[in-house]
């Protein structure tokens, strides 16, 4: 499934990286600890979090993640938006809670990144 389709199907608000939505999502990962994402998320993963600090962009760039979805309508910090635009990292916002959103993403065919 491509980011474009996910944005459309789940009514996400695209905050940054709108020209990078043509990317295939390989798997999903949910975590609010950056160190955990650094350790467990891989290339092409869609990351669901409520973390809004600019370090999420550095982590996503380093791991070459497909994009970040912020849950519960969280508003990314100003620095986060600037850095994400610079790095071409899509940040999308959902009004749903993480549990609800992930349940629906799973139903749509996205599976969890393998824990390793």
């Amino acid at each position: 499934m491509k980011l474009n389709d996910i944005v459309k199907d789940f009514g996400l608000e695209v905050k940054t990286g709108s020209s990078h939505l043509d990317r295939e999502v390989t798997a999903g990962y949910v975590s609010d600890l950056l160190s955990d994402v650094l350790a467990h998320a891989d290339e092409g993963v869609l990351w669901v979090t409520l973390h809004i600090h600019q370090n999420i962009v550095a982590v996503a760039a380093h791991k070459d993640l497909a994009g970040i979805i912020l849950v519960q309508g969280r508003d990314p910090e100003k620095d986060t938006v600037a850095k994400a635009e610079e790095e071409g990292i899509p940040i999308m916002v959902s009004s749903l809670s993480a549990f609800e959103l992930v349940g629906r993403l799973y139903k749509a065919g996205i599976r969890g990144a393998e824990a390793h």
Partner: protein, 248 residues
């Protein structure tokens, strides 16, 4: 020695922190601090103290007191400021932190980690992943600081922020944790923080800049009435002992 009132910004990063500018070199930091009228700064880079001695030396030459420390990220991703008077205590503590910090830095994603000397010469690059969190829970970080030979000063960093603060990550400060103070960031005043967060009424509060660029140094500060800028004196000021006091 007589008591005097000093202006202190205890939370200043150097060019060693990946998220800091290259202009946060020892001499630049000291110059900016003196320009803002500060008497004391605390140097605390993320999970490392490799630039502390250089800033101390540059400070000594120019009449600025420098407290050596670091900003440790706990396994819960809460940031804790830890300071020591004794350089050996600090370097021993750094060794302990390094043993619990995994990964190598990615300069493109996270930024350069420059090790400098007191004349602003580049002496090397730290290749550890300083932006990461250690595998140590907050309790273990405080315990390691207290295990040093000399006195340690332990302060929960920017507790009012949503990210990387002990209140943001853990909901509240565990009652068993022995902190010397909590730090409030530049985004609100100490009084606002006390109103908003009950924990800020339980501990002494300091305010500091968390400067990542020279322009931010001294933007927020705390005034201490002390004999000197040592950990022991600052701890007395935080608890209001022997005529010492802290105001912010």
């Amino acid at each position: 020695m007589a008591l005097r009132r000093i202006k202190a910004d205890l939370h200043v990063h150097t060019c060693l922190s990946p998220c800091s500018g290259l202009d946060m070199s020892p001499r630049e930091i000291v110059n900016a601090a003196l320009q803002r009228g500060l008497d004391l700064i605390g140097v605390c880079d993320h999970n490392s103290a490799e630039n502390v001695l250089a800033v101390k030396k540059a400070g000594e030459r120019n009449g600025l007191m420098v407290l050596g420390g670091m900003e440790v990220a706990s396994s819960e991703e809460a940031h804790i400021l830890v300071f020591f008077d004794d350089d050996d205590d600090l370097l021993g503590f750094q060794k302990h932190i390094y043993r619990h910090l995994a990964g190598r830095n990615d300069e493109h994603a996270f930024g350069l980690q420059v090790i400098a000397d007191d004349e602003d010469g580049v002496t090397g690059f730290c290749d550890r992943l300083l932006i990461a969190a250690t595998s140590l829970p907050v309790e273990a970080i405080v315990a390691a600081a207290r295990a040093a030979k000399g006195e340690s000063l332990v302060i929960a960093a920017h507790v009012d922020r949503q990210s990387f603060s002990i209140i943001g990550q853990l909901g509240f400060i565990p009652r068993t944790l022995v902190l010397d103070a909590v730090e409030v960031s530049a985004q609100m005043t100490a009084d606002e923080a006390k109103e908003r967060f009950p924990d800020c009424r339980k501990y002494p509060v300091i305010t500091s800049s968390d400067a990542h660029g020279p322009e931010d140094i001294g933007k927020r500060f705390t005034c201490f009435t002390v004999e000197d800028g040592s950990v022991a004196e600052i701890k007395k000021a935080l608890t209001g002992r022997d005529g010492r006091k802290a105001e912010c």
